[in-house]
């Protein structure tokens, strides 16, 4: 049943994707993403020959899409599911729906740590089951319609970053200092657009141990000519009084309106909150997930390796989780492709959708 090996038990597949993408990250993936959005097509077609020769596997398909640096996991999941519909030989809507359900369950269980993967699957399933395409009398027309709309959904998702950048850059004013934690493609896009609109601001990047995401972001920003300062992760509180706003991305936005993001976001938000600084989140709407974490431990932990540089003494445990949950009361606004939202609007959206 499982053609590609289950990800290494100790390390989450989600984390691996991130690491892969960010290792090869450079200025050109953004332009690549934009080109893809503008052309209205994903950069390459699916491995059509492979699909023809051997039985279709949604996970292979997903892995194919997931390797593309400009594609978010949720979009990769949607693309994989669309490919699933295309290669399906179901003859009734019901059959197709069951097949899709199976495929999405397989995807979700393949990597339980990825929030955006399951959010993407959920959204797509919702989309299929609630669509007016079901009103068609002809099954093939309906199927085509689903495929078409699935692809359109992928396109919308690609454009999302651009929309968010447009909305978010209004909040950046001349002379402000922005603290950024972690590497996020959306955040980079927001800052990039603001800089190209001749706004003068500077950015503090946290280092982002252990994968040094902040270093990567600072490199990107420096090439854009934005003044950047790197901070070690523990200097957040020290630097906060100079900061005008905190801007972070998100792995997932949950039903409470809070976010799940790279480890350290929670403490950054807490410090910002206690010093009365606004915390803004930039996140695409396909990251809205049907989760309601009650506390930090109420999540599937995404584990990752941590390099300490020195031998770890025997009997010492290491906290390997890669992300934390920031409750909504510490967030000011979320910039999404649906508009600028308060955390309570996010809850509302999700509840309305999955009611």
């Amino acid at each position: 049943m499982e053609p590609s090996p289950k990800p290494n038990h100790g390390i989450s597949a989600y984390y691996q994707t991130r690491a892969e993408h960010h290792a090869i990250i450079s200025g050109d993936w953004l332009s690549q993403a934009q080109a893809a959005a503008a052309a209205g097509h994903p950069p390459e077609g699916p491995p059509a020959s492979a699909a023809a020769s051997k039985p279709f596997s949604v996970i292979d398909e997903f892995n194919h899409w997931r390797r593309k640096p400009d594609l978010a996991e949720a979009v990769a999941a949607i693309m994989a599911l669309v490919a699933g519909i295309r290669s399906s030989d179901a003859t009734t809507m019901m059959e197709l729906e069951i097949e899709l359900k199976k495929a999405s369950d397989a995807l979700k269980s393949w990597d339980t740590t990825s929030i955006s993967l399951s959010a993407g699957c959920d959204l797509f399933m919702r989309y299929v089951t609630r669509t007016s395409a079901l009103e068609y009398d002809d099954f093939h027309a309906a199927k085509l319609r689903l495929i078409e709309r699935g692809e359109k959904f992928g396109e919308i998702s690609l454009k999302a970053r651009r929309t968010i950048a447009m909305l978010g850059q209004d909040f950046i004013f001349d002379g402000c200092t922005i603290l950024v934690h972690g590497f996020s493609r959306v955040v980079l896009e927001v800052l990039k657009l603001a800089a190209s609109n001749r706004k003068l601001f500077r950015v503090f990047c946290t280092e982002g141990r252990p994968d040094k995401t902040g270093l990567r972001l600072s490199k990107e920003l420096a090439t854009l000519g934005i003044p950047v300062k790197l901070l070690i992760d523990s200097a957040v509180a020290y630097a906060m009084d100079e900061v005008d706003m905190v801007l972070v991305g998100a792995d997932g936005v949950v039903e409470s309106g809070g976010i799940i993001n790279m480890m350290g976001t929670y403490q950054t938000a807490l410090v910002a909150h206690s010093m009365n600084k606004p915390v803004y989140v930039a996140a695409e709407s396909y990251k809205f997930a049907r989760l309601y974490p009650l506390d930090q431990k109420d999540l599937e932990p995404a584990l990752r390796p941590i390099e300490f540089g020195v031998p770890i003494p025997a009997g010492v445990e290491i906290e390997k989780s890669a992300r934390d949950y920031t409750p909504p009361q510490y967030l000011t606004l979320l910039f999404t492709d649906l508009g600028v939202l308060t955390p309570s609007v996010v809850s509302d959206e999700l509840i309305q959708l999955y009611l």
Binding site: L123, S132, E135, I156, F288, L333, G339, S344, V345, E349
Partner: protein, 413 residues
Amino acid sequence: MPDLQALVTDFVLKLKRRKIEGSQATAKQTAELLRQVVSQQRMPYTNQASVLIDAVRAVGEQLIAANPIELAVGNIVRRVLHIIREENLSSTTAAMEGLGLTAGSDDDEGEHEDRPGLSAAAVAAAARSTLRAPSLQTLLEDIPESAVAPHPSSSGGDSEGKSKSADRSSRSKKLKHDVIEAINELIQDIDTCHELISEQAVEHIHQNEVILTLGRSRTVKEFLCAAKEKKRTFRVFVAEGAPRYQGHVLAKELVGKGIQTTVITDSAVFAMISRVNMVIVGAHAIMANGGVIAPVGINMVALAAQRHAVPFVVVAGSHKLCPLYPHNPEVLLNEFRCPSDLLDFGEFSDCMDYGSLGGSPLLHVVNPAFDYVQPKLVSLFITDTGGHNPSYVYRLIADYYSADDLVVQRNST
């Protein structure tokens, strides 16, 4: 009939010179002017809605640019745009329903619709959802391009028979008529908002309570008087609202209505707040995140109220609901008034000697007009549609404005 352009210029001048005081008056006059714009607009046969929208938008841009701080102007412009879109939509829907019926009966004309599975109602629902702010639901449930296409362009589509042109021209008059009707309703709403708000007074003000307010707001005055008329006895502390001392005026008015009133200085708010049961204030504008732009001094009252866990209630008509987010409210959305409110002419003239120290005087006078109150400090908004939480404001805004209109202002800047 007065010349439209002259009217617009006149109003723009008034706004620029800050001759119109108060959001209600501004809102009403803006609506009346836009009604003129709509009624004098010549209507073509097609694309009527977009012609109206362009006309209103053009005038709206001028008005907003004339006084960007008076957010009520922009609000009303957007409300009118929304009205046009909605009326256009409802007439289109009506037309489509008629069309659906005829298309069924006379297929021989060869103008059969090419969207089999979609009922007119479904199209209407989809079109209506495009008026709303985008949401996950609409993102997922949008209708094929082919079906949506007729709606934004015009009432009536290409598929409509030529024989119906007479019918169409009557519909063209109808759209304009409907829009004017709706604007009239809007004006009426602005007029009556005080009554609607003060109707709710008895639900919020209880016997023997102590209410604190700052400065003078007509909405607050009517609210308090309405409670008094319903035989509630309560006391009011009025902070005088320096530097204009509008609180003195309010105190006089309240005493005239037989309400037990105490005047305090602004600096005494913290001293008195522990005796207060509820703070009721007016607002200049309510922003999309639930924050409030209010006369200067109110943020201090809000902080005092929070410190002592006193409910902080803001009363405001729905014309003050602004669909914009305060990006940098302390800087962008403030107005600096004349220093003569603070100092009499000549009083400090020796300190204001421009001759010394390279032309800059030692004494500066800054007289900001507004405060920004964060949403977390507000307990309740009372508008003409009832009481709402700050986090609910976005819903109200989604009801009153369409997402496409939010950027009216940005074109002009």
